[in-house]
């Protein structure tokens, strides 16, 4: 291993331990790692944003093609972006809102049609199940459960009427489906989370401690 790798492994291992110490309680080591993490990550995104967004999408197109035809609108983007900073000029501070308004407007527009087309339609179509199951009892049963689940959960989300009487009972069944779904999903996720921890412990035990012992001539 090169020197920078050895040094890096030690830094990474010590920072890992500092963060993990939070499980016991808040302490200066955790606070150090937390502060460093906040700073380093912010600096990281400064580099990434410049290198991956502003450079390829703004600086290079403007530098190579100049402000003509297809790139003219990029000047607009630059202005809208800079306009976010008018907030620091008291007299025209209110103008900064127009950048936010534009940004939000564009994305709520996209979201609206995408949600209707990409989520409501396919999910509704997928729920149009064949209750006959084509003779297969299990598949007929599953289709029935699926249908009841979707409809009662939708009833739970119905806001315009009070949930009492028959409607209340149905929406209660909807809650049971939600709870069953949440419980199952919770249990299912445990495995993935444990894998992450195994990854960190492998790093500490095998790469850091094991690696150090090996380089000192212990073990093989």
């Amino acid at each position: 291993m090169a020197g920078y790798e050895v040094f890096g492994t030690w830094v990474a291992a010590l920072l890992t331990l500092c963060l993990m110490s939070f499980l016991y309680k808040d302490n200066p080591f955790f606070r150090f790692a937390e502060a460093l993490f906040a700073g380093v990550s912010l600096g990281y995104y400064i580099g990434i944003t410049l290198d991956q967004t502003l450079r390829p999408n703004l600086f290079i197109p403007l530098a190579e093609q100049g402000v003509t035809g297809d790139t003219a609108h990029l000047r607009f983007a630059g202005l809208v972006g800079l306009n976010l900073y008018t907030r620091y000029i008291p007299k025209i501070a209110w103008f900064a809102r127009s950048s936010l308004a534009l940004y939000v407007g564009y994305y709520v527009g996209i979201n609206m049609v995408q949600k209707l087309q990409g989520e409501v339609l396919p999910q509704a179509a997928a729920t149009m199940v064949d209750l006959s199951g084509d003779g297969n009892v299990m598949s007929a049963f599953n289709s029935f459960v699926m249908l009841v689940g979707v409809i009662t959960v939708l009833m739970y989300f119905f806001f315009s009427v009070e949930h009492k009487g028959g409607f209340g009972k149905a929406s209660r069944i909807g809650i049971w489906f939600l709870m069953l779904g949440f419980g199952a999903a919770f249990g299912y996720t445990v495995m993935g989370r444990v894998s992450l921890l195994i990854g960190r412990f492998n790093f500490i035990v095998i790469q850091w401690i094991g690696g150090t012992l090996q380089s000192l001539g212990f073990g093989g």
Partner: protein
């Protein structure tokens, strides 16, 4: 109209039905129609949570999720934040809004400042209430977790779009003894909020929250419009199930599923 994308006709029909229903009910509500909306427990608990923070003389922590304002959940969260900020302004309770996304940060600053103005307490507003932390999900989580254990806010709001940090924040907040009100439409994170928070706004409840809290007729009207669209969708599903089960009109399901 030779440019029209015929494969999206089904989406256009849904879009039109939806807009017509929502606009109709907004109109009716403004004209003084029925405004009933069922109780949403998580939202009624906001008063309790802010009230407790005020009594204990501790602060209220509001986490608006980790996505930018290009995500509707964030906008829904800012509507709730506006309500919470008005309450903290009125009671003179300390409010803390750490941010992960810079545009959400810029928006939240406007929201909170205006809320303090509306509540008649611009004197209590300061630029430190809404502050920026970092753009990284987990660095942000570490910082907010630190705040939770060090400053022990009495009420934590975790409302907006969350990912893996949902449980890290909710568990830390739980251990620090705060009342926690969460809300998200991220299906994968709901189980964790439901398990670790006192109240959880589930999916659509989050989007309806702003309207519910504002009690404004046009807002409530839009909720009714979306409700009736939902009923229409449920009806379409039932129709589709009947057609599929007796094997007639396969075109119905096919037409809806074109994507």
């Amino acid at each position: 109209m030779e440019h029209f994308d015929a494969s999206r006709l089904n989406a256009l029909v849904l879009f039109i039905v939806f807009c017509v229903l929502v606009l109709t009910f907004i109109g009716r509500a403004r004209a003084g129609g029925d405004l009933f909306i069922r109780k949403i427990a998580g939202l009624n608990a906001i008063d309790e949570a802010v009230g407790r923070a005020t009594e204990l003389g501790k602060k209220v922590l509001y986490v608006p999720g980790i996505q930018s304002i290009d995500e509707n959940q964030t906008i829904a969260s800012l509507a709730v934040l506006s309500h919470v900020a008005k309450m903290t302004a009125r009671y003179g309770t300390e409010l803390d809004v750490p941010n992960k996304d810079p545009l959400t940060f810029a928006s939240a600053r406007e929201t909170v400042r205006e809320a303090y103005m509306q509540a008649g307490r611009p004197d209590l507003y300061n630029e430190g209430i809404v502050h920026y932390v970092t753009y990284d999900q987990f660095a942000y989580t570490a910082a907010v977790s630190g705040t939770m254990v060090r400053e022990r806010p009495a009420a934590n709001f975790l409302i907006g779009s969350f990912f893996a940090e949902s449980l890290l924040l909710a568990e830390t907040g739980q251990a620090s003894g705060a009342i926690q009100i969460a809300g998200t439409a991220e299906v994968a994170q709901l189980p964790f909020f439901v398990c670790a928070c006192d109240y959880t706004l589930i999916g659509e409840e989050l989007y309806a929250a702003g309207a519910y809290l504002s009690r404004e007729p046009s807002m409530l009207g839009s909720i009714k419009g979306q409700d009736w669209t939902k009923a229409a969708v449920a009806l379409a599903i039932l129709l589709g199930v009947i057609f599929e089960s007796v094997h007639i009109f396969p075109a119905f399901k096919q037409w809806i599923s074109i994507n």
